[in-house]
Symmetry: C2
């Protein structure tokens, strides 16, 4: 495998879920003052996160949403409804606290960490973001690889290191998001390459493009795949050829979160494409993933199906920025809070069920 | 109409949504720094709640979950997996803060208000709940009416008055819930009577009964409807004949919330049956309702369809207590926070979309 040497340390640190902690969590759920199974997916989440963290009663108080930002050379092909300059403008909006993800993160009690891994603008060094720019945007993937392999690996590494730092700070729950005008085009190319499906099956309207732009976007993805011929057995090569800096960083973040046994909540289609690459690099990662929501972006259901994930929310959102993942953090917090804080039947002096009914 | 005199003051206070405020909210949504429609149902919620409250930018900070508790004489027929004593035990658990709804309410920043409108136990007068007991549980509906008409009206009134008091305290969002062993049997009878459907179409497993108990529960509902023959054109009569004190109180709460222009978030099947009765009493109420979640209880989808509501969450929950509604408060808060706090394109200096794409 082409990737074996490059990421083998990281991949080797990813283990299976802790089945002992999961069983302890299941036993606890059966003792809480509610009919068995009555909290539905909240119970399943508590058991899953016990398996991820290795804790019968996982913590949920310290939440973070990490948003990776990068630009895309392919925007020159006219695939987006917004100019590339919006990426940097939105990064500043995240910091100012007036973007969707900023407001939603405050509402759900999550810290917002913004990472410049490839914005095509000089962001002031004093801007309170994580400055990990690998390069100022990708090359246009219709002309050749968007990134060199070394650049893609540097972005993967940056994503992993940001998560490692967050885990060192004691974070309990990690939501992921992205910002990058043009990145639904790159994500569609990554998904088509890894899934072996036709571009038209995964290309969507992104920020809301019209029919003519959608046709152009589909043709651009077809051309990028024809020019680069990425090898689906080489996920790093796929991320380099037709991906993006923030997409590769998301893949690295997902790998590191699994290695560090922290639950990682995916946002929409772009996160899903990054997760596909991560799972191809390390299949054990799959068990650590939580799909925050089903996006309205056309290709997302196919990516979710390939990942085997059933999303928590289905609210017709298609904004990115981590907006769906951060809203889902509230559901996960509810699951873990009820798991940890509810009384058992014996603690509460509540009568148990009548046997034979 | 039999109800015209009894509740005409309350019903007369319920007006249509404020279409002017809704249009203002729509205009604001189009100016916020995101592609149009990209927040999906969060945008729709903001517009709806603008219409409910009459405010372009509704408030969301002050949240309450109101849980009405009552017992059911029909429990003697062996329809539940839990003994009736559990109702009072759980009320004490709500106050102690160790029940699911207590934990979830804290997590979502909602005050929990518990109302005894008909618990069949002497709850200490010092217990910090709202003491509005109309009677100590209903009569068994298989032998005759569960409540007199006067009792049902008193419960409706109690529910309305609790909401009126909360609105006086300045509440922004109201989630509703219930506690009452046996109340999924009563709710099924109310739903079957109002919808004119067969009991088997709306009877479910409640707290998790086995097949034999499910068959008995269905037969009990059939018998109750045969004995009482409630008139579907008389919702108060239906609530009296086969309903319950907490169900009637929920109907009253829903009517008062609409009259006071506050959004009201329904929990599951029992809240849904109460909402059906409220909508039959005052069709204008429908527009004020938000379905918090789709419960796993078998009859809930049918009730939601009759109400024309698409729930916010679908997490396989079937606990009651307001647990699904209170989790949904987090989604609604996210919707209103983003509506209120995001910057517009001009405020943020973000480039607008490229026309013709």
């Amino acid at each position: 495998m082409p990737h074996a040497g490059e990421l083998s340390d990281l991949i080797g640190r990813i283990g299976p879920l802790d089945s002992g902690a999961m069983e302890q969590a299941r036993v606890r759920q059966r003792q809480l003052t509610k009919p068995r199974g009555a909290l539905g997916r909240l119970e399943e989440l508590a058991v899953l996160i016990a398996g991820i963290t290795g804790l019968e009663r996982p913590r949920w108080q310290h939440r973070v949403v990490v948003v990776f930002a990068g630009d895309h050379g392919v925007v020159r092909e006219g695939v987006s409804a917004y100019p590339g300059a919006v990426t940097a403008q939105m990064v500043r909006g995240f910091v100012r606290g007036t973007a969707a993800v900023s407001v939603l993160a405050r509402e759900v009690g999550a810290r917002l960490v913004v990472v410049d891994v490839g914005v095509a603008a000089d962001l002031d060094a004093g801007l309170p973001i994580v400055h990990r720019k690998v390069r100022a945007g990708t090359r246009s993937m219709v002309e050749g690889p968007a990134l060199t392999r070394a650049e893609a690996l540097a972005a993967l590494q940056a994503g992993a290191e940001v998560i490692a730092a967050e885990v060192e700070r004691g974070v309990d729950l990690i939501a992921l998001g992205e910002m990058g005008i043009g990145n639904s085009t790159a994500a569609a190319a990554v998904a088509a390459a890894l899934l072996g499906c036709a571009p038209r099956d995964v290309v969507g309207r992104g920020t809301g493009i019209d029919d003519a732009t959608l046709a152009r976007k589909t043709a651009v993805v077809e051309q990028a795949l024809a020019v680069n011929r990425p090898d689906p057995a080489d996920p790093v090569g796929v991320l380099a050829a037709v991906g993006g800096l923030e997409i590769a960083a998301l893949s690295g973040a997902i790998l590191e979160a699994a290695a560090r046994r922290r639950p990682v909540v995916l946002d929409g289609f772009i996160c899903g494409a990054a997760a596909l690459a991560a799972v191809r690099l390390a299949p054990a990662v799959r068990a650590y993933l939580i799909a925050g929501h089903r996006s309205a972006e056309a290709g997302h259901p196919r990516v979710l199906a390939a990942l085997g994930l059933e999303p928590l929310l289905d609210l017709g959102m298609r904004l990115g920025e981590g907006s769906g993942a951060v809203v889902a953090l509230g559901i996960i917090a509810a699951a873990l809070a009820s798991h940890d804080r509810m009384a058992t039947f014996s603690e509460a002096g509540v009568s148990e069920r009548i046997t034979g009914r």
